[in-house]
């Protein structure tokens, strides 16, 4: 699991800005405190916007990918999200990293919703994942077996996530994919930490049930296939 964000509301904004970014492997330039970078980004300063982009792109991309399921669609929706960011950043009121992340992911959530609206408006388009559209993690690269396994389970993961409520989904994605702490997630979603824990529990239980049902279905199909083959061999 990714390193959780070390951002807490109590911390000084300028100190927070120097901490290594969650999951991105990038470090915020110590010379530029986050609050000041936001200030400059509001004025459409390109260097500040570039730093924000490089820092938050992986998180937005992962969030979107977990929802839409294909690399191509994830790239489209991520692009739309960042264009909306540049258009709306002048009016953004966030003062620290966590508030900014919350604002950014809210935009991504809206863009994902818009994507699904468009998708359902054109039901004739294929909604299954083409072979080359399955994401491959860094760890999987170069390992064909791992890639195949990943592809098999990927559609299942996305389908399970899409069965959750919006709040459950946000909690598990922020916690398990983006690596934020429960307290941070609570602040981003404006909830109590206990409520976040409860949502997290229900979300993971729902995902576990979904995976169990899928496993049972797969096992049933395999056993019926094997049975059919055995029958044919005997004949």
């Amino acid at each position: 699991m990714a390193d959780p964000s070390s951002v807490t509301p109590e911390k000084d904004v300028e100190t927070v800005a120097n901490v290594e970014s969650a999951g991105t492997g990038m470090t915020w330039p110590p010379a530029l405190p986050f609050g000041r970078a936001l200030e400059r980004a509001r004025a459409l300063d390109r260097s500040a916007l570039g730093m924000l982009y490089r820092r938050f792109l992986p998180a937005v991309y992962r969030y979107v990918l977990a929802r839409v399921g294909t690399v191509h669609a994830a790239e489209d929706v991520t692009s739309e999200t960042f264009f909306a960011v540049v258009e709306g950043i002048g009016a953004m009121r966030a003062q620290d990293e966590l508030a900014f992340t919350s604002w950014l992911l809210a935009i991504a959530r809206n863009k994902v919703a818009a994507y699904f609206r468009r998708l359902y408006a054109r039901p004739e388009e294929p909604q299954t994942l083409p072979e080359d559209e399955h994401p491959v993690t860094v760890a999987d690269e170069g390992d064909p077996l791992a890639i195949v396994t990943s592809r098999e389970s990927w559609a299942e993961v996305v389908a399970g996530l899409n069965q959750l409520t919006e709040e459950q989904r946000a909690v598990v994605l922020y916690r398990c994919v983006l690596g934020y702490t429960t307290e941070d997630v609570a602040r981003m979603l404006e909830k109590q930490p206990n409520a976040v824990r409860a949502l997290q529990f229900r979300a993971l239980a729902s995902l576990a049930r979904h995976h169990a049902a899928e496993d049972a279905l797969r096992r049933g199909q395999e056993s019926s296939r094997e049975g059919g083959q055995g029958h044919a061999t005997r004949r």
Partner: protein, 423 residues
């Protein structure tokens, strides 16, 4: 401890250690019945996502588009209402009021009498001054005369205001908008009024740079219609004008700097245009390729297309395209769209087969698209009938023969219907 809290604590341990430590069994039973292990497994499947990275190409492409959009918005925000806009105020040594005195919006109200043609009956026809307060003019005829003067004056003032507003709006007009033509005219006026060749070159460079920014932003917004076309045309024109103008700057460090800026903008333009190609329609790819050629990039060029009809019921044309810089994997373009089957490609010749009847009109344009998305067309299309296998009766040359095709090979160069349209 509640199961939610225990799960949360285990997930936190996961995030810190990457796995459940041996002394913290994840399968601890809850009330002797449930286990958290399936939930942790479900979380584990999600954590695979945490190591997914977008492709480097996507990161670079989106960053360029993102920053181009920011530059575009910043430019839009900067092009503010002041008279005739930013561009006019950047003109060296020029005051908008001096440049276009008739376009300065009149300030209505107390200063109204200063408007041309409006006297508010302050002066009588015989030249004697009257009280400027209308209510104190005793004569019944005076209001009527005032009204006669007032309406044309108001109309003139209104026209002035509309004109000034239009020019102000045009100064901030972006490519693809109705007022962009006026905006370009204003820019040309500024260039003409520039004091020196160096000033002119700087203006051209600025306009080319702005056009390239607008082009990038149009691509980023997938607005590849009029906005892209206008920006591309402006970029090409301004780059050519910059090159010409920089040549007339006296040799020295100033000229060197200008040429260096021009080279820099050319390099950036090549990169941006190549990136844009993938998002464009075929017609725009052709235009963009032409602009790439104009700024010195090595791109394909099509000079001539020759079509030979196979006949004998095959309904096939053999198409030979001549040109330069064709790449392996290139495709044939017919009327701006891919068509036919490519048989062979060399750097200078592409041979393809195209199904069709010889009675149909020839395509108005044909060309080639390379795998790097550059494309070029030509209208120089000629057609020939395939050499007839059955010998035709030889016509005996007569004294009144005016030359023509003595060989009788049928290669007239334009024997097909509608052929030889030319460039």
């Amino acid at each position: 401890m509640l199961p939610e809290d225990r799960l949360d604590a285990l997930l936190s341990l996961y995030s810190e250690n990457g796995r459940v430590p041996p002394d913290q069994p994840a399968t601890t039973d809850l009330n002797g019945r449930d286990s958290l292990q399936p939930l942790l497994d479900a979380a584990d499947q999600l954590t695979d996502l945490a190591s997914v990275q977008p492709s480097p190409e996507f990161i670079a492409r989106l960053e360029a588009q993102f920053l181009a959009e920011a530059a575009y918005l910043q430019e839009q925000a900067g092009a503010e209402p002041p008279l005739l806009g930013n561009d006019m105020t950047t003109l060296p040594g020029s005051d908008p009021a001096t440049l276009f005195p008739s376009l300065v919006p009149p300030i209505l109200g107390n200063d109204a009498p200063t408007l041309p043609g409006i006297t508010w009956a302050a002066v009588q026809e015989d030249g004697t001054e009257l009280d400027s307060v209308p209510g104190r003019l005793g004569s019944a005829r005076r209001p009527a005369r005032r009204a006669r003067l007032l309406w044309p004056a108001l109309a003139a003032a209104l026209l002035l205001v509309i004109g000034a507003t239009t020019f102000t709006a045009a100064a901030a007009a972006s490519p693809g908008t109705v007022l962009y033509g006026l905006h370009r005219w204003e820019q040309s006026v500024q260039v003409r009024m520039a004091g020196s060749a160096a000033d002119r070159t700087n203006l051209h460079l600025n306009y080319a740079q702005s056009a390239l920014g607008a082009l990038d932003a149009a691509v980023a917004r997938h607005d590849t219609g009029a906005a892209y076309d206008d920006a591309l045309t402006t970029y090409r024109d301004e780059m050519q004008a910059t090159a010409t103008s920089a040549g007339s700057v006296p040799a020295g460090s100033e000229q060197d700097t200008l040429f260096a800026q021009l080279r820099q903008l050319t390099t950036r333009g090549r990169a941006d245009l190549h990136s844009a190609l993938a998002f464009l329609a075929w017609s725009e790819r052709v235009q963009t390729t032409a602009v790439l050629a104009d700024i010195g990039d090595s791109v394909l060029h099509v000079t001539q297309v020759s079509m030979v009809y196979a006949g004998h019921g095959q309904h096939l044309w053999q198409v030979t395209v001549s040109g330069t810089d064709f790449q392996q994997g290139a495709v044939l373009l017919v009327n701006g769209r891919p068509a036919g089957t490519v048989i062979s490609v060399t750097p200078t010749t592409l041979v393809a087969q195209l199904s069709g009847d010889d009675s149909a009109p020839l395509p108005s344009s044909m060309g080639v698209a390379n795998p790097d998305d550059t494309a070029a067309l030509t209208g120089n299309v000629s057609s020939h009938e395939q050499e007839n296998v059955t010998p035709s009766p030889q016509q005996t040359p007569s004294g009144d023969d005016h030359g023509g095709d003595r060989g009788g090979d049928g290669h007239g160069g334009s024997s097909g219907p509608g052929s030889g349209s030319g460039g």
